[in-house]
Amino acid sequence: MTPTTSPESSIVRMQKLNKHFGSLHVLNNIDLDIVPGEVVVIIGASGSGKSTLIRCINGLEEFQSGTLSVDGNILKPDGKSSKALQTIRTEVGMVFQQFNLFPHLSVIDNITLAPMKVRGWRRDDALATARRLLERVGIADQADKYPGQLSGGQQQRVALARALAMEPRLMLFDEPTSALDPEMIGEVLDAMRELAKEGMTMVIVTHEMGFAREVADRIIFIHKGEIAEQGTPEALFSAPQNDHTRSFLARVLKH
């Protein structure tokens, strides 16, 4: 069941969003509403446009037509760095597949940079918040190390803490565990599970179907730039309606 939402209550609202990449139609008439507190997991084959979709939400990708509003800020097609985009980026956190920690800064400085430079927090306040977040993701003892000295799982948890330090209203996850060794995937998923429990609005692109089934309020299946099917994990995994969904699930759930 897709949650029924009124426009006013949704934190992300996409209408007829289209993105072309040359002759490639990457996103095709996407309509999407996400309500506060909702955990949405986007699945689909590689190249289906799922990463592009969430990267549109914080303006890392431009789109050519349609409307997109995030927490009331309207992003226009082909909009360069507008004021709305800046506001959206301060309110929306993102965790990347490749972590993208700043290698020249210590763990703690990675986390305090944006709160100090963007939000204008005093160093003491930023440090206190950073320590609290590191504690929360279970790596308080690594604060003074550099990213290169940490394992992949630890780096991704720092990246999560770094995004949370901005006190975002919405968190985007772009295949957060795809670059991790298998034994480290669990610790990152645990941290995300905690976050979901606390009520954070999350949009997650992942291949971890077990995790998706467990934490998602809604699963969206993307096929060739279109939302082919969406619904609760129960509905989508147990009784997929769309042929593409069925064949995709058959392939990924086999092992």
Binding site: L60, Q86, R89, N100, H104, L113, A114, A163, M166
Partner: protein, 223 residues
């Protein structure tokens, strides 16, 4: 065959007091020129990767012109040519510094461009996703990392420019080679004096190499 000529160490040592006054000039032209060249290089290096096409073209023109012509011709043009245009002579020291500045600036532009472009896209994306402005992303995230990668090629360019100043003996500025030539004209000890001149360049460039290596090591230790 019988050589009646021998390397005369006393003549070599005797030349030292006459050569030493050339060192400050060599250093002044080199580092003065490089200091300007560094800022020119940052300026054009960033223009070179600007999203605006005609700014990129401007940078490409500058780089091609000053990288594609000999520095000797550049300094002759500045010292002998420009005064005809300006109507007043140009001080030889100023001409030397200007030549090093525009010449090293062209190479440093490419070093800056390469350094900045070598930083993974994800660094910029992560910065922007945190709400940093493009300028902040550059200043706090991209540039510090790019600069670290630029140190070895910048050191290279520094050493090349120091040696290039030797060409400026032709405009009569009293740098190392010029001092040597004057001394040789009076004593006819070319072997010994050019040997000492070479040795002095080596001391300068070697010192710079050691300093750079330490700077690099500190940079790596910081990660």
């Amino acid at each position: 065959m019988d050589f009646d000529f021998q390397f005369d160490w006393s003549a070599a040592f005797a030349s030292i007091p006459y050569l030493l006054p050339g060192i400050p000039w060599t250093l002044l032209i080199s580092f003065g020129g490089l200091a300007f060249g560094f800022f020119i290089g940052i300026f054009f290096g960033l223009l070179r990767i600007s999203p605006i096409r005609w700014l990129r073209w401007l940078a490409v023109c500058y780089i091609e012109i000053f990288r594609g012509t000999p520095i000797l011709v550049q300094v002759l043009f500045i010292f002998y040519g420009l005064p005809q245009l300006l109507g007043s002579p140009i001080n030889a020291l100023v001409a030397g510094i200007a030549a090093i500045a525009v010449n090293s600036g062209a190479y440093i532009s490419e070093i800056v461009r390469g350094g900045v472009q070598s930083i993974e896209r994800g660094q910029r994306e992560a910065s922007l996703s945190l709400g940093l402005s493009r300028v902040q992303a550059f200043r706090y995230v991209i540039w510090p990392q790019a600069f670290r990668r630029m140190i070895p090629p910048l050191g290279n360019q520094g050493i090349i420019s120091i040696k290039d100043t030797s060409l400026f003996s032709v405009i009569g500025v009293g740098e190392l080679v010029r001092q040597g030539q004057i001394y040789i004209a009076a004593t006819f000890t070319a072997l010994e004096v050019y040997f000492m001149v070479a040795l002095m360049y080596l001391v300068i460039t070697w010192t710079l190499s050691i300093l750079l290596r330490q700077l690099e090591r500190r940079g790596i230790a910081g990660q």
